[in-house]
Symmetry: C2
Subunit: 504 residues, 2 copies
């Protein structure tokens, strides 16, 4: 649709990836920087994608036995202080409420008044406040497990923000569960990691690596942090979701105890797990191209859009009638358990403008309908992922629309998977590893940047060497079948390979 070589997004990914990302968000009207420092406004199209994510995740949580609840936005400072590592991790970047009203100050303007006896922190995450509540709920083994999720906003006072990826306020879900045994808590932690990986793969069409975080990258206060890591199109890693086995750390801080079947008083075991609006950022960077957003059909707020094309006033009525009947017919089609999400664009805009708008917004299938189509009973289809286009009988489109959507969904996943695999390499030579992350390899210029798999013993020495390369250990993959080997960095014996990458 664009002139050959012209793209809807300037700059292209090749030219300036970070700026391309911002421009895709702008072109697709997903979100914008708000007048409040570090906070974003999630615009309707961006929010609708988040709603689709929520709907699917919420069903998956409920299918695995979880229920939703809601806990306070504020955390008393003293709660945060109960878990030493936790407060260390979050104290540096939290919004602190110190007063409960505004009153007229000496110079006429309003000033904070009614100072609180104890400052309240706007939740950066809710382990501590929920722990306090759970301590009251849990008395006996009969009260366990507690399997609760919360959809909420959280605030972490980030200094350098980026829409969806890192903002002061963001939306997320946080699961918080309590168990009688360590085994059960670990099982829950891994189950939820699986839920996230399945969601990423099947709904977002985003392949992820499930793995364990190295100690340095753990959630503050966790015993083990598990993660799903995805590769973006600039070959950087993005941590897309985490699931934490918290051991008894938070149970101890909040005193979550229960009388067990053996009549002994025991400390409980807890987990927490979360994904956030960051997933929208991950989605953008996994599939989008130089014409804007590309949406996997399962998450597209509109899976098919119909654009009526008329030049003369007298053509309008019949074209619109055809479009409306097509809209009704398509809305009635079931795809999986749901009906298709179809829209008709009747805005008072030029057709070219509408067409580009839907391309930039990533609608999977676009149909143009003009007077000739009405006469022939046909539609002119544009497929967002492959940019293929062409006319076909209306009935043919209706009969194969769900197959097409399935094909697009699967195609996006395999494209992303191929890209990820192409840019994942094993290293047993430190210089090659360094070259991978710094400059082109003279011999193999195509091997540059991505996921580097290498044996590592971890620890400060490795962290330090990686830091110089602006690289971090992303995770120790759970399903790797590696035999023990030699640490790339220290030459010591190492048990497993670790994935290293630059990251968001």
């Amino acid at each position: 649709m664009a002139k050959k070589g012209k793209t809807a997004i300037t700059p292209t990914r090749e030219q300036d990836y970070p700026e391309w990302y911002q421009q895709v968000i702008k072109a697709a009207d997903l979100a914008e920087v708000s007048p409040v420092r570090g906070c974003m406004v999630i615009k309707p199209w961006g929010y609708a994608i988040w709603e689709q994510m929520q709907k699917t995740l919420d069903r998956m949580f409920k299918d695995t036995g979880h229920v939703n609840a809601y806990f306070p936005l504020f955390i008393p400072k003293s709660y945060l202080e109960k878990e030493a590592e936790h407060v260390e991790g979050f104290a540096k970047e939290c919004a602190v409420v110190t007063h409960h009203r505004l009153e007229e100050g000496p110079d006429g303007g309003l000033v904070p008044a009614g100072e609180l006896a104890e400052p309240l922190v706007v939740r950066p995450t809710s382990e501590t406040i929920i722990g306090e509540v759970y301590a009251k709920w849990v008395q006996s083994y009969r009260d366990l497990p507690i399997l609760i999720n919360q959809w909420a906003n959280v605030v972490r006072w980030e200094m350098r923000t980026r829409l969806f990826l890192r903002t002061a306020e963001f939306l997320w879900q946080e699961g918080h569960t309590v168990h009688a045994t360590s085994e059960e808590a670990v099982e829950e932690t891994l189950q939820m990691l699986d839920v996230y990986a399945t969601f990423a793969r099947e709904t977002m069409a985003m392949p992820v690596i499930k793995g364990e975080k190295t100690p340095e990258e753990r959630f503050p206060g966790a015993v083990d942090t598990y993660t799903i890591e995805a590769m973006m199109q600039d070959r950087k890693a993005l941590q897309a979701g985490t699931s934490h086995f918290l051991g008894q750390n938070f149970a101890r801080a909040a005193n979550i105890q229960f009388l067990d079947q053996d009549n002994e008083q025991k400390l409980a075991w807890t987990t927490s797990w979360g994904v956030s609006t960051r997933l929208v950022g991950a989605l953008i960077m996994t599939h989008s191209d130089d014409d804007g957003l590309v949406l996997p059909p399962k998450l597209a707020p509109s899976q098919v859009v119909i654009v009526p094309i008329t030049r003369k006033e007298e053509e309008k009525a019949e074209v619109l009638e055809f479009c409306n009947s097509l809209l009704a017919e398509l809305k009635d089609v079931r795809w999986g358990e749901e009906r298709l999400r179809v829209s008709l664009d009747t805005r008072d805009l030029r057709s070219a403008e509408k067409n580009w708008d839907h391309i930039k917004k990533g609608v999977p299938l676009k149909l143009e309908v003009g007077p000739r189509d009405v006469k022939n009973g046909s539609v002119f289809m544009y497929r967002r992922d492959t940019k293929e286009k062409g006319g076909m009988p209306r009935a043919e489109f209706v009969s194969k629309v769900t197959d097409l959507l399935g094909e697009i969904q699967a195609g996006l996943l395999s494209r992303a998977e191929a890209f990820r695999d192409e840019h994942t390499h094993d290293f047993d030579d430190l210089e090659a590893f360094k070259a991978f992350f710094t400059a082109q390899n003279a011999d193999k210029p195509e091997i540059h940047g991505g996921f580097a798999r290498a044996y590592s013993v971890g620890g400060p020495e490795v962290v330090e060497m990686c830091k110089k390369l602006k690289v971090t250990a992303r995770c120790i993959p759970l399903d790797a079948q590696d035999e023990p080997g030699t640490c790339l960095f220290t030459g010591k014996p190492a048990e497993r390979k670790v994935i290293f990458a630059k990251s968001y």
Copy 2:
């Protein structure tokens, strides 16, 4: 099920209505006071009811052309100050963020640090921050109308809190729309009032009176506030939702201007409208009885619960098999556009305990299934609203379950409506009006408390007289057909009757 005269909730409504309310919430496990002052924890059963409300309302908003978006939690103090009445209304009760980190203080504990140049207020409502954003979005008449809703948490630092009815933090939705003309904005305001009234009536089975607020009761900064008012079982009024025509007040404060079709630059017209988790409180107080919560089927997270009754271990398997097949059969039944919400209670508890639990939680239909039922292919049904119970063939129950639910839904509405009408009276005598709100009427002891309809000119004099009776003007009903008359309080000519009541 209880011994005659014994109720599950102590005290009864008659004995102590406010305490009964708290005890119903506790017995149904809906919510509790949190360790954070004024904030509540919404427990899973209470949250599930809110989710049902959200689902229906969200669909109604979308069906009327609205989309969801998300705006920042924080409002810079200067924004709040731009609309004089608005800041006056909210400054006295807002959480103020003054710092963005905690650091070690002189005595070792953490103290607020990183003072903000400008304090941020946690949104008590979002007109001002959303107005600032809209001002950038709106350039031309083509950008209008903007029809956006937000699901969010808000904070108003209430000193005297009550679960669901008045808490420092609560969940709500707030619609914020922008229009080119006053007429269109008024139409939107009234449309959303209708949506709320329809939802209250058809989904909550709660009859409401749609009306206009008197000037004293308006939202701070609004030109007109419309309300839906419901009568609780203690005959007090509860404001269940409001829709505000904001005129150009907020558009002026944020400078929302547009170039109109006539090529003139104009100030826009805005509206806002909201309902909150307060609706859960309204629901409780409209339908519940001395055995606990009574849920209208359309909002019940579980519409039918199956309780297996077994005394001997060897009976368990066949009873459970029967229950599971019944569960599957019922889950497949459609009621309206959705499938039935059915649950099976397999908890390791005594049957009596389970039975009472579901009664207190308000599940509309409860089925007990014992070995004899399995043999006979029958179920033993308990109907929460009427407390009727009895056995019937399983097939009969399955075939009439949706009729039963419809009957319960309709029955709750007509019961509430009859109650409301019974306690609504017209007054043209001031002494009778006073007696209505203070002591028993000697002549007619049944006429005491409720909605009092009376002619009123309003204004400070009327407000003052009512204040002594702890009564407020609830609204000027929209659909009243009253001829002009004489003000009950001042004797002056009055155009319309106003509804007065004690209120939450």
